[in-house]
Each structure stands twice: as C-alpha cells, then as structure tokens.
C-alpha cells in the first residue's frame, strides 16, 4: 500500500522527531537534579544534627561533616552526587538503616508504586475508553446520559476519599483480609499481591476514568461525523478499518489526557498508599522527610521528577507516531 521509499521517509522523520524530543527533555532533567540537590541546603536540620543528636559537641559535628564530605565546595558535592547517580550509586542511608545503599532500599517500594500506578491507569483507561466509546456511538441516548452522570460523579471524588470508603466497606463491613493487607510484593506472593492491588487500584482508576470517558466521547463523536469517515462508510470498507481510522484521528486529545491522568494517578498513589498501608514510595517519602534522611529524599524527588518527564516524553513520542503534522 505504501512505497518503500515513502515508508522509509516516514520512519526517518519519526526517528528524528523522537531524537529531538529526547534531547529537549535533558535540560528539564538537569533542572530537577539541581532542585533535588538543593533540597539539602534549603531544609533546616539535616543529617549532621540528626546523627550528632541534641547533645553532640561542635567537634563531633565537624567530624561528621568531614566524613560526609559536606565541607567540600558546593559544585564538587553536586558533581560527586550526579556522578554517583549516573553510575547507579544513590548514596547510603544514614539515619533509618545506616549503611544500606539507597538503591537497594528503594527497589521494593518503587516496584509497589509502579504496579499500583499501572493497575490504576489500566482501570482508568479501559473503563474510560469503553464508557466514552459507548456514549459516542449513541449520543444523547439514556446510555450517554447515564455515562455522563457516572463520569462527573467519579471525577468529582478525590481518590483518597474513595480509598477510605472502599477500605471501610470491604475491610470493616465485609472483613476481607486481602482488602486491607496492602502487601504488594510480587517477588513474594503473586496471588496475594494481586488481591491487595485490587482496591487501591480501583480507588485510583475510578477517580480518573470519568475524565478519560468524557474526552473519548467528545472526540469520537466529532470524528464519526467527519466527511472522510462517512466516505469510508459509503465506500463499503470493513467496519474495523473505519473504527481504526476513527480512533487514529480521535486519539490525540485522549493521549494527552492519558499522559496527564497517569501523572495524576502516580501522584495519587502517595495518599492511597498511606490509606491502604502499601509500602510504596508514598509511605517512604513521608518517613524520609520526618527523619531527614536527605540522600533518600534527594533520590525520591529525582525519581518522581523523572517519572513525570518520562510520561511527558512518551506522550510526545506517541503524538509523533500518530500525527504526521507533529513529525514534520
């Protein structure tokens, strides 16, 4: 259907576009390293106070400084830290579990939060797309009205509130053990982890499914009335080709909202983790801030920032894949 040369051109321009997007994400990433490194100097107290205790003498504090390399010039400290990060060394824990490498410490919480985000996003995506598509097919039907009500209801409700209600209903009233365990660790027990994932994921996903549904409905409704879709219909193309082209054209705003929604869900996990007691990075973040575990805090801020950059980058790349106007 497409000449080899034109297919090649398409791939080349797409690769160039992806390259440009990646390069333009780098300055943001550098900015985030500045911010997370700067945290150390903005926050009061710090590791020295924490280690030396209230009765620590000036000499003791000086020795700790020397050991941690805090007396070196700022740029040396920064470069040392960035160098470590680039080689996978994020430093060590000082207060909570002295001597443990942070990378090891964070592995499990990051995984738990990752699965929670993915599960929440999947729920938001499937529910949102399905409800949106159904109401676009029959606009102004009772189905459309019902889905509008449900959508508005779900996106008006905060995810942590939904989490508390779910916890109350399934944990307190029905007394399901899996509902409240919060133990999401796939290396230990897959079935149990999946069960523990259900309620937090529903709390996260349901609250965002409404937005996805509304956008999907609007876009598909617009597209199915476009002349080129009607032409494909009277031409007698197979139904799946028409639906494919409809989705291809209506999906861009949906992609934008999805990227944004996944970001929101990721952020939402912090609170929902606290409600369900999931040992994810949300709980970790709170503890790191309380105990002034500065290297951990830096790493977490860096991770969270990078996740948002990554989501945006993927959204941008998807744009390029889907829309020839963006590529060129």
């Amino acid at each position: 259907m497409v000449d080899r040369t034109s297919a090649l051109n398409k791939i080349m321009s797409l690769l160039k576009y992806i390259g440009r997007r990646i390069v333009s994400a780098i300055p943001t990433l550098i900015l985030i390293t500045f911010l997370s490194f700067g945290l150390l100097y903005i926050t009061p107290g710090g590791p020295v106070e924490a280690l030396a205790g209230i009765f620590g003498t000036q000499e003791q504090k000086e020795r700790i400084r020397q050991e941690l390399g805090l007396n070196d010039p700022l740029h040396v400290q920064y470069l040392r830290w960035v160098g470590g990060v680039l080689s996978g060394d994020f430093g060590e824990m000082i207060v909570m579990a002295p001597g443990t490498p942070i990378a090891e410490m964070l592995r499990k919480p990051l995984l738990a939060t990752f699965w929670l985000t993915i599960a929440g996003a999947l729920i938001a995506l499937t529910l949102g797309l399905a409800i949106g598509a159904l109401s676009a097919i029959k606009p102004n039907s009772w189905l459309d009205s019902l889905s509008r009500v449900i959508s508005i209801a779900t996106y008006s409700v905060p995810d942590f509130w939904l989490a508390i209600i779910l916890l109350f209903v399934f944990g307190v009233i029905f007394r399901y053990r899996w509902a409240i365990s919060g133990q999401i660790d796939f290396s230990r027990n897959i079935v149990f982890s999946l069960q523990s994932l259900i309620l937090p994921a529903i709390a996260l996903g349901l609250a965002k499914a409404g937005i996805v549904a509304r956008i999907t409905r609007g876009e598909l409704f617009d597209v199915q009335n476009k002349s080129f879709i009607q032409f494909e219909r009277i031409m007698g193309l197979p139904r799946w080709v028409v639906i494919k082209d409809m989705l291809h054209n209506g999906i861009l705003p949906i992609v934008t909202v999805l990227g944004y929604t996944i970001g929101l869900i990721f952020r939402g996990t912090f609170l929902v983790e606290v409600v369900f007691g999931v040992p994810g990075i949300g709980l970790f973040l709170v503890r790191a801030a309380k105990t002034q575990e500065y290297a951990l805090l830096q790493t977490l801020v860096l991770c969270i920032g990078s996740v948002f950059i990554l989501i945006n980058l993927l959204t941008d790349i998807l744009y390029g894949v889907l829309d020839p106007r963006v590529r060129s």
């Binding site: 259907m1 051109n9 080129f228 009607q230 032409f231 494909e232 009277i234 031409m235 829309d323 020839p324």
Partner: protein, 332 residues
C-alpha cells in the same frame, strides 16, 4: 425507460425529541427536511440543485447518495432501491463532500487515501496501485509528486481534486456534489467546475450538483431544480430557467444576483429569513415571502400547489399559472 437514479416522493423527517421526551411521550418537534421530492436523473446528465441554506438540499443529496434513509418514498438506482442494493452496485453512487479539508483523513498521505478505494476495487499489486494513483492524480490535474503529501500540505482546490480522484477511483456512475466549490476562491472554483463537467462528459458520469451559488450551477448544470423548504418549486433546463424563471422564488433568487445596477427596479426581491422547517407555513410554503400572493388570492395560504408542467420539461409549483392544480398531498 428507467432513469439512472430516481427519487419518488421522498420524504425525510427528523425528530429532535430526546430519549427522556420520548420516554415520557412528550415527542419534540419534527423537522421536515425533505418533503415529497420526485426527481429523475438520466445517465450523463448534470442536475443542479439550488436553494437557501436549510432548505433541505444537502439532505436530498444524502438521500440520493444513500447516506440517509428516506422516512417515506424510495430512492432507486437503475430501478433498484438503494436501501437493499448489493455492495458492488452501491459503490457506483458516490458523494463529493462540502468541506475538502474534512473529507480527507489528516493522518494519511494522498497515496494511502487513494489506495483505499483502489484496493476496494480489487487491485492489490503494489505496482498496479502506484500506477493507478498516478493516473488518477493526472485525471484531476495533479502531478505524481502529490502522492506523498498530507492534507495539511494542500490548498483547498488541491484537496478537492484529491477528494475527486478518490471518488473516481471507485468508478462511480453517479456523484452527488455537495457544494464542492463553496470553500474555495473564485479562480479555483472555475477550475473545479470545469474539471467536474469535463470528467462527467468524458466518462458519462451523472452529477447532482448542490449549491447556493447560482453562477456555479448555471455554468455546470444541464437542468436545474430550485428547492424551498423541503420541496422542489421549479425544475427546468438550465438556460430556460435563467431566461424564463416562472416561480416567484426563482425570480427573486435570480433578481438578487442580476441586479448590478443599484437603480434597477426589483421585481421580486426576497425579504426576511425562510420560515422554520419545524413549522412550515400552511398552504404554499413560500407565501409569506411571495410578492404575488395578493395578486393570486387566498388560495396561496389555504391550499398548496402541486409541481406541474408548464411545458414538457418546465415544472413549477405555483398558483400563478392556471395549469397548476392543488397538491393531492394531505399535509399541505
């Protein structure tokens, strides 16, 4: 002899009741977009359809293209109802859309857009498809370079040419052209009209050319139908319609374009907006705006006129002419 395509007392009503209204039996109002149109188009003939916005001309076009199903009456292509025709014959009836930018998929380049109908016609070899794309582009006056462009890289006229090429790929026998020149500028308009009429003559394709632009219709059409509020009020060969308009509405339309001289006395100028198709006037639908009502008398708002011939090929729907009798349709 059966016409290539014919509409017989075709009606299309739209209900604007919501599901809640329907549930409570409140039934909203009904829009009579097309109200009893009979029209025959012969092979190779170009018929112009003119009228103000909202008079139902696009709906009639969609009915003839099979994009809409009539509420009453039937549309027949070569004597067979469009509703239950086989897919092969169905492709012979096509539509050229009003907004060229919306009628081409913005995610595909011209090559892919054209390859859809070419494949649909059963040509699958890559070399064959490429050759056909080039000959189609050539037929609509575009060079082969255009194959790798996307719709956002094309001008309005070029878009309409690609849209036409895409339609021609299906080898249609009848094309409904829904205001194809309303979105392009003057010189492009002339080019497109010439292209359409050349292609029609060359391949013997019949056209229904829908427009509110009388000069465009005059340029291209063999026969013209004038539509007002869902009904055809006058139908005549193009030249005759322009030389001897008979219906007061046609006179007013022609008057509106012919008067370049500001001092000319307007014989039948048109005032106000057309009435709502949700509540069309009783009797003749044109009577509230007609300049001849007083002359003809109360019959104009008491009864509706039928579309009847003044001569063999000149039909008119007006009591101004004694030949015209009352419309048997009860709804008048």
């Amino acid at each position: 002899m059966t016409a290539l395509i014919e509409a017989e007392s075709v009606k299309r009503y739209y209900s604007n009741a919501s599901w809640l209204q329907r549930l409570l039996f409140l039934g909203g109002s009904e829009i009579q977009a097309v109200d009893g149109v009979t029209l025959r188009i012969e092979k190779g003939e170009i018929v112009g359809l003119v009228g103000e916005s909202g008079c139902g001309k696009t709906t009639l076009g969609w009915l003839l293209a099979g994009l809409e199903q009539p509420t009453e009456g039937a549309v027949r292509f070569k004597g067979r109802s469009l509703g239950n025709i086989d897919a092969e014959t169905r492709k012979k009836v096509q539509l050229l859309f009003q907004y060229p930018r919306e009628s081409l998929n913005p995610r595909h380049n011209v090559r892919t857009i054209l390859s859809y109908p070419i494949r649909k016609m059963g040509h699958t070899a890559t070399a064959d498809i490429t050759a056909r794309i080039h000959s189609l582009l050539e037929a609509v006056g575009l060079s082969a370079r255009y194959a790798d462009r996307y719709s956002f890289q094309l001008s309005g006229g070029e878009l309409q040419r690609v849209a036409l090429a895409r339609t021609l790929a299906l080898e249609p026998e009848f094309i409904v052209c829904d205001e194809p020149t309303s979105a392009v500028d003057m010189n492009v308009k002339v080019q497109i009209l010439k292209l359409l009429s050349d292609i029609s003559r060359e391949k013997g394709i019949s056209l229904l050319f829908i427009s509110h632009d009388l000069s465009a219709v005059r340029f291209i059409a063999d026969r013209i139908c004038v539509m007002y509020l869902g009904k055809i009020v006058e139908q005549a060969p193009a030249q005759q319609l322009f030389d001897h308009p008979c219906h007061p509405y046609t006179m007013a339309l022609l008057d509106a374009i012919a008067d370049i001289d500001p001092n000319a006395i307007r014989k039948a100028s048109l005032h106000g907006q057309p009435p709502s198709p949700m509540a069309p006037p009783a009797g003749c639908r044109f009577h509230p705006r007609c300049a001849y009502t007083e002359q003809v008398g109360t019959i104009c708002w008491e009864r509706g006129p039928a579309l009847q011939p003044l001569s063999t090929d000149h039909l008119v729907r007006c009591f101004l002419y004694p030949e015209v009798s009352q419309d048997p349709d009860r709804k008048q």
